[in-house]
């Protein structure tokens, strides 16, 4: 019999088209926002976790500052002494340090800011970066130990109208802080705009340009095979603490395994995501109140109809079900439209990220659970919002309802 209630609900909603649409807008916006936030958030998380996975599970990242989220704040930098301490730690096979800076880069008549990255080129360090699979050469040749004023550029740098009007070509000249570099290689697109816009030079040359004698912006260490990575990371942290003369809990640096990095980002992501979902939920609550308001009006308007239905045998529960289902349908239809709008919006963002920002790796994650869950949720919100008005309708006395004009 429940299908009869649904068909009756649909007829009534169709009968009041304008009001039905207006009522649904709140739910549509709320569900659309939640669906796009969750799908994009999930996509973004997948993308970043995927990038960490590329690093390999045996990598340990050491950064200045007490947490990975203090990047950019005034911190005591890591230096050659720290590098040596790490290198001596039991279970560490290789250490590689990197420096980078956002700096003005000139090409032909143009000059733009971009990241200049100083790469260590000794064989041990190179092996770490190679195994992190982040950087693959598209064409030209890679940087090698002993290179001087040569430069490898990210794919965006070599493309027209990305950074420079005309993309950089092999053999041409790029000037950084008055020092000329010859372009020898172009990297494959990484799908991460910041990396694709960067240029890469020998760390020794970068030290001259940045006026940086022995500091590192980030250090990567590789654990020996057969060693427990997290134990090695703990030993490493202990050793650094000792050399920097710090007590436990007072670290001005942080040591993270790939797994911990994933977890840290995962945590931050879910906090941000839940916050955004919370904001979007306000719209759903407002939508629910809208449904409640419409249902109260509707109950009042149909008082006489309720009287008729009661006269021809409708029990209180029948009337209650009728109105609750009508409200639920109002929510569910809003939810379906919201899912379509939200999913479409997420896809548009995905395409925009690819075309405008050159971020290939962001894929909106529209799972069946999310879509079905969203519609189900809006149905429940609708039913809950309709509960009080429906109760009012159900408790009407038939004689009173039939007297109502």
């Amino acid at each position: 019999m429940i299908s009869d209630y649904f068909s009756y609900a649909f007829k009534n909603l169709k009968h009041r088209k304008v009001r039905t649409w207006l009522t649904m807008i709140g739910i549509v916006i709320g569900i659309a926002a939640v669906v796009s936030i969750i799908s994009l958030g999930q996509g973004l998380e997948n993308m970043i976790i995927g990038q960490f996975e590329d690093m390999g599970a045996d990598k340990i990242t050491i950064m200045p500052g007490s947490s990975i989220f203090s990047a950019g704040m005034a911190t005591i930098p890591l230096n050659q002494k720290d590098y040596d301490v790490i290198k001596r730690t039991r279970g560490i096979v290789n250490v590689a340090g990197m420096i980078y800076s956002s700096i003005r880069v000139e090409y032909k008549e143009e000059s733009e800011y971009t990241f200049v990255i100083g790469m260590p080129l000794d064989p041990g360090s190179k092996r770490i970066f190679d195994s992190m699979q982040n950087f693959k050469l598209d064409y030209g040749r890679d940087l090698k130990d002993g290179d001087g004023n040569v430069i490898v550029v990210g794919s965006s740098v070599a493309k027209d109208d990305k950074i420079f009007e005309r993309g950089v070509v092999l053999g041409s000249k790029i000037t950084i802080n008055g020092v000329d570099f010859k372009v020898i290689g172009v990297l494959e697109t990484l799908g991460n705009e910041q990396d694709d816009r960067s240029v890469y030079i020998n760390i020794e040359r970068a030290r001259d340009i940045f006026d940086n004698k022995d500091e590192f912006d980030v250090l990567f260490a590789q654990a020996k095979q057969g060693f427990d990575v997290s134990e090695v990371a703990e030993d490493l942290e202990k050793a650094l603490r000792k050399s920097r003369d710090l007590k436990e809990g007072e670290e001005d640096f942080n040591v993270q395994t790939t797994e911990q990095l994933q977890e840290s980002f995962g945590t931050i992501f879910s906090i941000v995501q839940w916050f955004l979902i919370g904001v979007a939920s306000i719209s759903i609550v407002v939508g629910g109140i809208g449904i409640m308001n419409t249902m109260y009006t509707s109950v009042l308007e149909r008082t006489y109809d309720i009287g008729i239905m009661k006269a021809i045998g409708a029990r209180n529960n029948d009337i209650l079900t009728l109105f609750v289902i009508e409200a639920g349908t109002l929510g569910a239809v809003g939810g379906i439209i919201g899912v379509i709008v939200g999913g479409g919006f997420a896809k548009i963002i995905e395409i925009a990220a690819k075309n405008v920002l050159s971020v290939d790796l962001l894929k909106a994650h529209l799972s069946v659970e999310l879509l079905v869950g969203a519609v189900l949720f809006s149905f429940i919100v609708g039913m809950a919002s309709g509960a009080l008005p429906a109760k009012q309708a159900a408790s009407m006395k038939p004689v009173d309802a039939l007297r109502y004009e």
């Binding site: 009756y8 009968h15 045998g313 029990r315």
Partner: protein
């Protein structure tokens, strides 16, 4: 073919409405027996209490005092949902203003009472078409009430009142909103139902309509003042 067993029995029924501080009695001790297969008219001027009486007889309301028996069962203390179930099964309503649901088609209006009795959909449909046939509106089954004339709407309402094969048809001023000729057609239809064995209880203030009944109960100031057979 008429049985002598009372289908409805009112025993000293009182109904008192409270209007602020004052008690207003609408029914002042009405006793009435209606036998199965009877065709009776409840008549009286407006304000006489005949609408209240109809509500009592139709199980739409319960008395303040006294007892009402429907088919031998005391309904005067029943809950609203219990009353609804009995109404739906035993009583078919025909109202002055037809009272069809405007969003539903003629057929859906006719089948709705069966929905509340959990009748299977196919059975409902079949019965609904049969009933529309009976009132001569088989061609109008998918029309909305707004697309039907007053007479047609009242015929749909009669078809609806028969949906659950009730023993009693309760008609409240069934011709009140119709012109004389259409009203006569409706009366012919009610008479036919009476001849088929249904108990017809009609509430009216119009003597011309009332005279179709086999018994007239005259009510005034909440009391039965005359009760005679034709």
């Amino acid at each position: 073919m008429k049985k002598e067993k009372p289908i409805i029995e009112l025993n000293d029924v009182k109904k008192i409405y409270r209007m602020g501080e004052v008690d207003v009695p609408a029914l002042n001790g009405v006793s009435l027996k209606i036998k199965q297969g009877e065709f009776i008219a409840i008549m009286g001027p407006s304000g006489s209490g005949k609408s209240t009486l109809m509500n009592m007889v139709g199980c739409l309301d319960v008395p303040t005092e006294g007892k009402i028996f429907l088919d031998g069962k005391d309904i005067s203390k029943m809950s609203e949902s219990g009353l609804a179930q009995i109404r739906g099964k035993k009583i078919g309503f025909v109202f002055q203003k037809f009272n069809l649901l405007s969003t539903l088609t003629a057929l859906e209006n006719v089948t709705m009472p069966m929905m509340f009795q959990n009748v299977d959909e196919n059975v409902r449909r079949k019965k609904g078409v049969e009933l529309l046939n009976l009132v001569g509106l088989e061609k109008r089954s998918s029309h909305k009430p707004s697309e039907l004339s007053g007479g047609q709407q009242q015929r749909v309402a009669i078809a609806r009142s028969l949906a659950n094969d009730p023993e009693v048809i309760l008609a409240d001023e069934p011709t009140g909103n119709l012109d004389t000729k259409t009203g006569r057609d409706i009366m012919v239809m009610l008479k036919k139902l009476h001849n088929d064995g249904k108990t017809i209880i009609m509430v009216t203030h119009d003597p011309d309509v009332g005279k179709h009944a086999k018994r007239i109960v005259l009510i005034k100031d909440g009391m039965v003042v005359s009760n005679h057979k034709e």
